[in-house]
Each structure stands twice: as structure tokens, then as C-alpha cells.
Assembly symmetry: C2
Homo-oligomer: 212 residues x 2
DNA sequence: GCACCGTCCGAACGCATGTTCGCCGCAACT
DNA sequence: AGTTGCGGCGAACATGCGTTCGGACGGTGC
């Protein structure tokens, strides 16, 4: 069931390379030529075999209707995340109110969908400066956030501190009638603030750190 | 040059959705039906216009030879990174000597190519435990490393400390006739070691932190 | 030997699909 | 009105491409 002949493996490999390269599936005759096969019927024959073995899917009656199945075939869904700007202590970030940022985003980053947990409307911020290093966020990191106005205890959120006039990323805790913003490092003291002084901008989804 | 008529925008949108959905480009008649156009020649006419405007690329004489260009069209190249295992203080990591790990990798992660800088043979490790939190690497993080046996000053490398019997991620500095492994946090002291006691496993490329 | 089966070959068949061509309606000019 | 250009229409045309069919070649079992 799983093992396939040399020619079938060759065809499968050719399929992957062709699709990767050209962005559309090859025709029967493309495969024929690319694999050095002398007849289209041989290709058809082996494609049927591959289909039986669940390696590919074919849309009959449709030109180039071949689809490679399996982990290497099904391309992971890629989403474009708008990078809205930089976040640094002392500087506000422009937080969108509408849900269409694609136009005013200065930059975008493409990531596989599982990196943002399939959430929608995720946006990204480029971290500037070392000011948040105690939150395990380094200079140059990219943080992915989902829009949020509220948080539950323990959430990592980007909050706008009205009195300080700055945005920071901390863990969020309700504590009596005040808010505790907890850094992730034991050597740092938490920030306490009145609830109406903090304005939640977004909830942490994930982060990425490129090389230096 | 940039603005396109309503019908052209409609066709372009249809192209994207169709390709996203089916994994192969539509035929002229697919577009005709999908956009409610009464003649194939109209589709052809507008496709030529789109091609003039550099919005798409057509492979003449080839069925479904349409390719959407631009940021939203050209899919970012996705590479599969083998996750070789977990890294935690006190435990060695199995570092491959050959360059074919795909078979023995327990897991893989798909990321867009720019996340690993287009480097080849990159592998990934899942961070276990909080033991490296001072290097801005948290529990659950995924670090991407490229195989390396040497490093230049300042590189973040995964090193095997023979005397301690553990692997850790630090910045690497030659300092006289010893090696300094520098954490990224000022409250932590660097580790000094003899050159023959450290064995470099891989060089840090990037890291990713999923949500809690 | 013979029959059977998996694989391959070459050619023909026929639908699917891209391309071309003449014509029309409409708006903006002269 | 006449002209020009753009966008659309429908049909015919030419080719791309999937499919089918008769047959060949090499194993394997009887």
C-alpha cells in the first residue's frame, strides 16, 4: 500500500518540484518529458496507481488537475501579517480601530498560519530598544498581537499606560481594585496601576526573533 | 498603470480565491463563469490587460498557465524544519552529523523561508524548562539553529559544555585563551571555560515563541 | 509449453481550453 | 455626422491535454 515503484516515486518527486517551481501542476505530457517516459499512457497508468495509494488527487476532465497530498504536498496556509510599527518605551503605537489595516501597514510579514494560531486580524509590532528585555522580548523581535480590549489574569498584553504615556508588554492581573502588570523576571518589580489608567491594546499571540 | 477596471479587479480577486482553494489556476472558462462574463474573449482581453499591468504572468499555449504576481500572489517559499528534539539544561541534544535528518526527525515545523534567512540545513529545538530564561529563551520556545562547529565573537551558539554535561545557548566570545559564554542578562554572570571544554553544536538563526 | 499479470508503448480519439476575428454599443472627441 | 478608441460579444478555429485501445515485453505459476 505504501511502497511505490521507482517510476512512481520519480513522478511524485517531479510533481513536487514542478508545482514548487511553476505554481501550477504539470500536464501529463510535461511529466512524460520531464521523467523521460515514452508514452502518455504510462504516465496516466502510474498516476492512477498513485491515486489508488492516496498519494495524489486528480480532478478528472480538468487539465492539470493534479494535487499532491500528504504533508509535503499540502502547502501550509500562509497569512500576511501587517507590521503596524515599532513599539518602544515612551512611544505610543498607532492602534487601529477598524479592522482593515492592509492599506496603511508600512510592512507585512508572511508567516505560516499556525504561528498565529489561526487567529484573525492579528497584527505585528517591531520591538525597538532593549526596554522590554525583562519580558523576554529583545530588541529587534517581532511580536504578534491580536486586538483585544480586555484580558484575563495571566495574559500577556500590550497596555497603554496613560500616566506614563507609554506602551509596554506585561502579564496582566486584576488584584483587588488595581491592576498588576507583572514582568517575567524575578528581579523586576511589577507595576501597579489604577484600572482606568491602563488601556489594553492587544493580546500576545506569539513572537519571533530573527538573528542579530 | 496601476488602476484597473472593475472587471479586472474582479478577475484578479477570483484568480486568487480559485488558486487558494483548488491549488491550480482556473481556465478561461472558469473565470468566465465565476465572474459572470458572457464571453471567453472578454476574459482573454482583460487578462491581457492585467498582464500589461504586471499583475499576472501568463504562460502562453499552456492550459491554466496563469500566475498571480505581487505580494499577495507569489506565495512565500515555505520550508520544513525538522524539530530534532528538546533542549534543556543537563540534557544533551542529539546533533546530526549527516545532513539528512528528515527521516529521523520526530516532528517538523513549517516556516516561511525568510524566518531562517534562506539558510539550508537549519534544524529546530524545542526548549524545555525555564533554565535558559536569562537568555531570553522561555519554556516552550522553538529555536532555529544552523549547524556550526565554530563561531565568531558575539554569535549566539548552542554549546556543549563537556565538564557540566549540558547544552546551553549563550553568546560566544574568545577571550585570551579561554572562552566566555555571555548570557543576555546583566544580572547573570558569564561562564568562562577552556576552549577544549566547549563544543559548538549550532549557531542561532532565529527563535519563535508561541502563546502560552 | 501456456496462461496470467503488471508495466510499458504508440497512436488515435475527443473533449477542454486558449486564441482569433468580425461585429456592436458607447463615449469622447473633431 | 464622422471618427477613434475602449470594452464587450459570440462563434469559429487550432491546439493542449486527458483518455482509451490494441499490442508488446518480462516475470511467475501451472
Amino acid at each position: 500500500m505504501k511502497d511505490l515503484s521507482g517510476k512512481q516515486a520519480q513522478i511524485l518527486e517531479f510533481l513536487r518540484e514542478f508545482i514548487e517551481d511553476k505554481d501550477y501542476p504539470p500536464s501529463i505530457r510535461d511529466i512524460q518529458e520531464g521523467c523521460g517516459i515514452s508514452s502518455t499512457s504510462v504516465v496516466d497508468y502510474n498516476l492512477r496507481k498513485l491515486e489508488e495509494k492516496q498519494m495524489i488527487r486528480r480532478d478528472r476532465e480538468i487539465s492539470r488537475g493534479i494535487e499532491v497530498l500528504g504533508a509535503r504536498g499540502r502547502r501550509p496556509r500562509v497569512v500576511e501579517i501587517p507590521v503596524l510599527g515599532a513599539i518602544a518605551a515612551g512611544q505610543p503605537i498607532p492602534v487601529p480601530t477598524s479592522d482593515r489595516w492592509a492599506s496603511d501597514a508600512e510592512d507585512t510579514v508572511s508567516v505560516t498560519e499556525d504561528m498565529v494560531r489561526g487567529k484573525s486580524n492579528v497584527f505585528a509590532l517591531r520591538v525597538k530598544g532593549k526596554s522590554m528585555i525583562e519580558d523576554l522580548i529583545d530588541d529587534g523581535d517581532i511580536v504578534f498581537l491580536e486586538p483585544a480590549r480586555s484580558a484575563v489574569d495571566g495574559d500577556k498584553v500590550a497596555v497603554w499606560l496613560k500616566d506614563r504615556g507609554e506602551v509596554t508588554l506585561k502579564r496582566f492581573y486584576h488584584e483587588g481594585n488595581r491592576i498588576r502588570l507583572q514582568p517575567a523576571n524575578s528581579t523586576m518589580e511589577p507595576i501597579y496601576s489604577a484600572p482606568d489608567n491602563v488601556e489594553i491594546q492587544g493580546r500576545f499571540v506569539s513572537s519571533f526573533r530573527p538573528a542579530d
